[in-house]
Amino acid sequence: MADRKRTAASAAGGFAVLGAACLLATGLAFGPSGAQEPPKAPAPQDEGAPQDIQVPAPPFTEGIFPCTQCHDGKTVKLNTTRRKLVDMHDDIVLQHGPASRWCLDCHDPQDRDKLRLASGERIEFSRSYLLCGQCHGDKFRDWRVGVHGKRTGEWNGKKQYLLCVHCHYPHAPHFKPIKPLPPPVRPETLRGEKGAQP
């Protein structure tokens, strides 16, 4: 992150751009930058959102957001050619949908701090479920009623939802296998004060 900012600053030079960088840094300090922050996104009351539900902030990689700190149209010029990324974001290996899919199918090319629906509508990252729901309509429908995905809180009151991307890494959404916790002790080896031994 620091490297990238330094590169950005040196590439641009000039006081105006430095000023802009300062502004961005301020934005960064207060912007949503990690999953551990308390939910601050206001409940989005649009057609796709579950009612009266607080969704926590999107799980950005530390320091990556806002994207316009680099993708401001000046520091990094817009390049709409489909290509393998080498300088930046080369850690992202897209394993999601057909091979023809790439970054700008979901990320808005003009405003990088937004996502883009198939209709061309720009949406905030905090409403990314609308984007996911374009293809995964059945999951989206279940998620809205609380059947798909994890829900915590109160069964008859306030619940905490998660965004799709809290569990499914959007660039490779398939769940990674995890280590199971230890199996139960077999009854024949159960120890006790009395009785367990045959």
Binding site: V145, K150, K194
Partner: protein
């Protein structure tokens, strides 16, 4: 016929001497039995020994019982342990649904449950058992493996089916209890009065889901691991010789919260709610998903449903 009256006449005399000696014998034996019982239960206070069934005690009696229990637990664990008495909520019937297409067999629920419900760590007691099954064979408990332990789950070709108390509407365990130490509450949760249970384990034999567990030894629960928020009919510390079971986390759900296993599951497999509320998640599942009951043919009428979310 002729010697019949003689026999009849002889009876009272014999019975007279017999009854006086029997009375003396019974009196001695009775005192000895009570003394022996009290001596045998040296960890049992007199109040605990004469305590009646939870459903028969008055509110005042309950207060003293709770105070006694809290004092005992505080002495045993060195910290304040509250014993709640939250009653069932009106208009609520709890139901549970588990998505077989999502469970990955990670056993987070098993240990989340142990932590929440103060089960004995040694000898080990767990209320949830996760069965690993072959996808090819389907639900086949004859060949299910609860002891699977691979490096990573889910394993190719397998699916996982956690089993716990099904909170049956027609619970065989309640029917067989000879002393009425276990019963179904109005909100559908089958509970145990640990102070009334005599440890005969009939309920364990009757339960087709293996959901009841017996404290064969004195339960060992490290004081630093105890969950101090307990309910009388739920996760309060148990003693040796009593049966225990899942209560849908009665101490949580009667306060509006989700059970611990629902909240700990990393894949959102577990769903919980009020079966009487048409807007609840659980009702949506029952109305829109493919749902099945485990061992439905036994007519236990579980309120625990398995479904396929995809």
């Amino acid at each position: 016929m002729s010697d019949f009256p003689e026999t009849r006449a002889a009876e009272p005399e014999e019975a007279g001497t017999g009854s006086s000696s029997r009375r003396r014998f019974l009196a001695t034996a009775g005192v000895a039995a009570v003394a022996a019982a009290l001596a045998g239960c040296k960890n049992l206070s007199l109040e605990e020994f004469v305590q009646r069934n939870f459903r028969e005690v008055s509110k005042d009696e309950l207060k003293t019982i709770i105070a006694r229990l809290e004092k005992e637990y505080a002495a045993k664990f060195g910290k304040k342990v509250t014993v709640g008495l939250e009653p069932p909520l009106p208009g609520v019937l709890f139901g549970y649904a588990l998505d077989l297409s999502r469970c990955i067999g990670c056993r987070r629920c098993v240990y989340g449950c142990v932590k929440e419900n103060n089960q004995s760590r040694d000898p080990q007691i767990q209320w949830i058992r996760v069965l690993q099954m072959d996808k090819e064979a389907g639900v086949d408990i004859q060949h299910a493996d609860p002891y699977y332990n691979p490096e990573l789950v889910p394993q190719e070709g397998h699916f996982y089916m956690p089993v716990q108390c099904h909170q049956c509407k027609n619970p065989p365990c309640v029917k067989v209890c000879p002393v009425g130490a276990t019963w179904q509450e109005p909100d559908g949760i089958t509970v145990v009065d640990y102070n009334w249970c005599i440890g005969c384990r009939y309920c364990m034999a009757a339960c087709p889901y293996g959901a009841r567990h017996f404290n064969w030894g004195a339960p060992h629960l490290p004081p630093e691991e105890i969950n101090p928020a307990t309910h009388y009919l739920g996760n309060r510390p148990r003693s040796k010789g009593v049966v225990e079971k899942c209560t849908f986390c009665i101490q949580r759900v009667r306060n509006g919260r989700y059970p611990a296993c629902v909240e700990v599951c990393p894949t959102g497999t577990r769903k919980f709610g009020n079966l009487l509320d048409p807007q609840s998640e659980i009702r949506y599942i029952l109305e829109n998903k493919r749902v099945f009951l485990f061992k439905e043919d036994l007519n236990t009428q579980p309120k625990f449903f398995y479904f396929y979310g995809v």
